[in-house]
């Protein structure tokens, strides 16, 4: 089995650039869903049909039509171990459904992992573009360009009235899901988060945790995305998300300032304690790691822990996930073993990065 690049590095190349508003917005993502007109959707496809779809759609990347976008690698899911799949999910490069349920599934990954194209997920084709920071329009421009290239090679299922036809009626129309991943510790600490999130859901947006549908908002990370895909144009959908996210950013900034003014010592204490525990603990479960890493990230943003770079924190976010941990140490682990290894890895990373071998 080939050793894939993606499983060697927790931090995707695209994450290394710092985007606008990166203290609050970790990443911006666009995903568009497309299907072929003359094939049943993946759920009802026979193995033969699923194979045909995979061949037709992977041909686009294999024949170099995506060269203007970047360098791509086409990986059939059948070539990946269970652990590799899990790592891809943890890095947000494929969906859990492609990893676990797809038949004749494949992922087409760009060199810097900013673009991942999923074949035979819930829909025949799903194009995903990830950008660092708050760059949702940029992500859409890239995704739409890739969509145009695919359209030349594929007869899309499109209906004048309903738009792009999708397996799930919640995606029909534009087939677009735009989302921003936000770190909102100050809104959580000042108990404003629920009020804001319930307001957000009233304007046609949804809020989820780090790993999408049904996942908990661990580590104060919230994914805000559009719900509506039909009846609004892509630009309306993106503008709506953009302006709501912009307001949330302003609220979070105001809350951070207030925390600093009104309870500086207490917030400093919380951040330093979390750093201390991460830097010295022997056992660290994923929930505690997420929460304490959130504190440390806030500390780095507020200048309380200037030596910790945002890269380290983004890297740790992925490295401390169960799949990546097992990949790093090359062994299958029980949850207890993982908690032990996770603590070890965080200690190394945080102390190594901040005082170069001290303590």
């Amino acid at each position: 089995m080939a050793n894939h690049r993606f499983s060697q590095h927790a931090l995707s190349e695209w994450m290394k650039d710092e985007g606008p508003e990166s203290e609050i917005v970790i990443s911006s993502r666009i995903r568009i869903a497309r299907n072929l007109r003359h094939q049943p959707f993946p759920m009802l496809a026979t193995n033969q049909q699923a194979k045909e779809v995979m061949e037709q759609l992977t041909e686009v990347s294999r024949s170099g039509k995506l060269a203007s976008i970047g360098k791509f690698e086409t990986i059939p899911l059948s070539e990946l171990s269970e652990l590799d799949r899990r790592v891809l999910v943890e890095k947000h490069l494929i969906s859990p459904s492609l990893a676990n349920e797809s038949r004749c599934g494949a992922v087409i990954l760009s060199d810097n992992e900013s673009v991942s194209i999923m074949i035979n997920e819930e829909d025949h084709l799903r194009i995903q573009c990830l950008y660092p920071g708050f760059q949702i329009q940029e992500a859409w421009a890239l995704a739409s360009g890739i969509d145009d290239i695919y359209e030349e090679a594929a007869d899309y299922a499109f209906d004048e009235k309903r738009g792009y036809l999708t397996t799930c009626p919640t995606n029909v129309g534009t087939g677009i899901r735009a989302s921003v991943m936000m770190h909102l510790p100050a809104l959580v600490l000042t108990n404003q988060i629920n009020r804001i999130l319930s307001a957000v859901t009233q304007v046609g947006l949804a809020v989820r945790g780090l790993y999408g549908e049904g996942s908990e908002a661990l580590g104060n990370l919230f994914q805000v995305s559009n719900q509506i895909t039909l009846g609004q144009s892509e630009h309306e959908i993106i503008d709506n998300l953009y302006s709501v996210a912009r307001q949330i950013i302003e609220h979070e900034k105001a809350a951070r300032n207030r925390l600093l003014q009104e309870s500086r010592i207490r917030i400093e204490d919380r951040i330093r304690r979390s750093f201390g525990i991460l830097a010295y603990a022997s056992i660290m479960d994923s929930k505690e790691a997420a929460q304490r890493l959130s504190d440390v990230r806030l500390g780095a943003d507020l200048g309380i822990l200037p030596a910790v770079g945002p890269q380290v924190l983004n890297e740790l976010l992925v490295m401390t996930q169960p799949g990546f941990l097992q990949q790093t140490f090359q062994e299958k682990m029980s949850p207890e073993q993982r908690d032990f290894r996770r603590a070890e890895l965080i200690r190394k990373k945080l102390r190594g990065e901040t005082d170069h071998g001290g303590v």
Binding site: P40, F41, Y156, L165, C168, G231
Partner: protein, 173 residues
Amino acid sequence: MYCQECGKKPATLHFTKIVNGEKTEFHICETCAREKGEGIPGAPNSFSIHSLLSGLLDFEQLGGTGMGGVKQPALRCEDCGLTYAQFSKIGRFGCSNCYHAFAEKLDPLLKRVHSGTVHSGKIPKRSGGQIQCKREIEQLRRDLQAKIENEEFESAAQLRDRIRELERKITDL
């Protein structure tokens, strides 16, 4: 009360299961509930978008008109064989033709889920030309009707020729 599965954490989920008249009570913690998975109603993660949708669809079937008693023929997609009843259970379409097969039922559902029922975004270039033509023909037909009513037969004839031209163009596309 402690969780009856692990005995370590406090039980936070309490429910009663009745199978064939036999009653069983469960008191378990969230972690164990998650491990036991979907069998437990109300347990975290057992609630998917598809079950939510099928709830909406079932409501469509049961509620509303109150015209009970009249049995309608089962709605079925000719291309993939999916019936409307199956669709409303799983909340997913089987192929692109399902949208046509179930067209009469879709407006209420789409209205609930989205802000409208008609697409107003990007159009693929391939079928884009055709759609533009169709929209133009519709407009010309309305104009034609108006000309005829006003007895402006000369310009009506011109419009008719333009419509024919566009119709030929569509079949060529």
